[in-house]
Symmetry: C2
Subunit: 302 residues, 2 copies
Amino acid sequence: MNGRTRRAGLLLMLLAVSAMPGPARAETMAEVLAASAAADWRPLDPDRTLVMTLPAGLVVIELAPAFAPNHVANIKALVREGYFDGLAVTRVQDGFVVQWGDPGALKSPPRPRPIRTARATLPAEFERPAAGLAFTPLPDRDTYAPQTGFVDALPAARDPATGVAWAVHCYGSVGVGRDLDADSGGGGELYAVIGHAPRQLDRNITVVGRVVAGMDRLASLPRGTGPLGFYEQDSQLVPITRVRLMADLPPAERPRLEVLRTDTAIFTRLVESRRNRRDDFYKRPAGAIDVCNVPLPVRPLP
Amino acid sequence: MNGRTRRAGLLLMLLAVSAMPGPARAETMAEVLAASAAADWRPLDPDRTLVMTLPAGLVVIELAPAFAPNHVANIKALVREGYFDGLAVTRVQDGFVVQWGDPGALKSPPRPRPIRTARATLPAEFERPAAGLAFTPLPDRDTYAPQTGFVDALPAARDPATGVAWAVHCYGSVGVGRDLDADSGGGGELYAVIGHAPRQLDRNITVVGRVVAGMDRLASLPRGTGPLGFYEQDSQLVPITRVRLMADLPPAERPRLEVLRTDTAIFTRLVESRRNRRDDFYKRPAGAIDVCNVPLPVRPLP
């Protein structure tokens, strides 16, 4: 959509709104959500949702097997063998990532926790064919990709010229830590983005999902003072009490949350409400939106 | 993202780079900076740099009179009358902003701290003529603006069609809190961005500068639990011991920092080193860079 079309669209909207009394204003996100129906939402998928317990509370991560089926299966295997229980957040680099995994593996000499049933490393899953993905595109131009949009709850991109799609790094995206070799990650070391979207990592890291609740508990952790934000003292490590697959939790302990579906007319309205804010505060609508500025509404189950 | 291996890899690269034949690897940021000359850097400008003392330490903010001359002058007046001393961080909204100012003004009924010499509100300075600005453009496309780049240390944008320029919201940008009216801010309430760049605020808020040191001290503060991330209890407020203009501090108390100039060939090389990373870790260079992903190197004065 070029600027003229967008302005024309905006003009239409303004004309429509101007039939109402008072100054022209667009729908707010709250108004869009208030107009949503029950079917516009879906509960978290218990079979691909992780619940991580930190001292500050829960962090809920929905995994994306559509983009990283092997890593997601391996992370579930790690979780089910209790691999993460008692491990720690080992790195908090301001404006970049919070990373968690095995502090023993970072020691010199390394004393890694053994992996019993899962695999330590897997071939990278940096991208996949775009065909077969239910991709909700955004019309907005992007610095890094030919096209961005959403695949279910996940911000993603695709290249029509090559037919390739990939999950992108936004605030809250979760990826697989690795060494220099592309195939050196396995999911035992994960990170979440806590700063401006580091899109240069796209297609260089296997993205496995996104945090859907508890980002504040990760992003407010003390920054590490070592190189790359690693904690330098064992006393600084933030312990992980446990990580569980939601499906393995008793029903009473499962997060009771639902997320807005992204393949719906209401989601299109929501994106537009954020692309062109014209309310009592915003004087100049942006006219465009970065995929990483599109919020994913999450709310308690009714 | 394994720290130990990456450090080993970096060491290896630094040792081997000149002799290394074969597949193209690009300059890293560290290599670019190592090649910089003293003249590529400039010290902080004492006459427009604020030093804010929080319990966790100092936050250093360089103001941008090129974009907001009246607000910068007013903020300096507020600082010089001691307005901020004993005020507090009142709001931390995860993924968005940390805001500081007068908690008394938020009470019901308000008990605002009197302003003695400065002004409470000023006409908005959302944009300015592009003419007369030393603007270092980036060639990369941007979702929100026709062109982005840097004006001194500040990420900025301009529209060649209208001849208008503005400072943009990136991680670390500092803006003037206001009420619904565009002219209702004065600088007594400021915020810094702690999440993905909220570019929808561009040209809706007066941007007055950027944090050049201490972002970690703002971004790791506990999130507020009230609406919009405001703290709900006085006990949660993060006290501001004092804010001083660097020029008013005794020389021994001034931050001894310099920043990389952005109007230099070395800065162009630095941007390219971040736009196309091709090293032992990055397998696929991004080929482009978002203005908010360009780092501003800051280092101790020699």
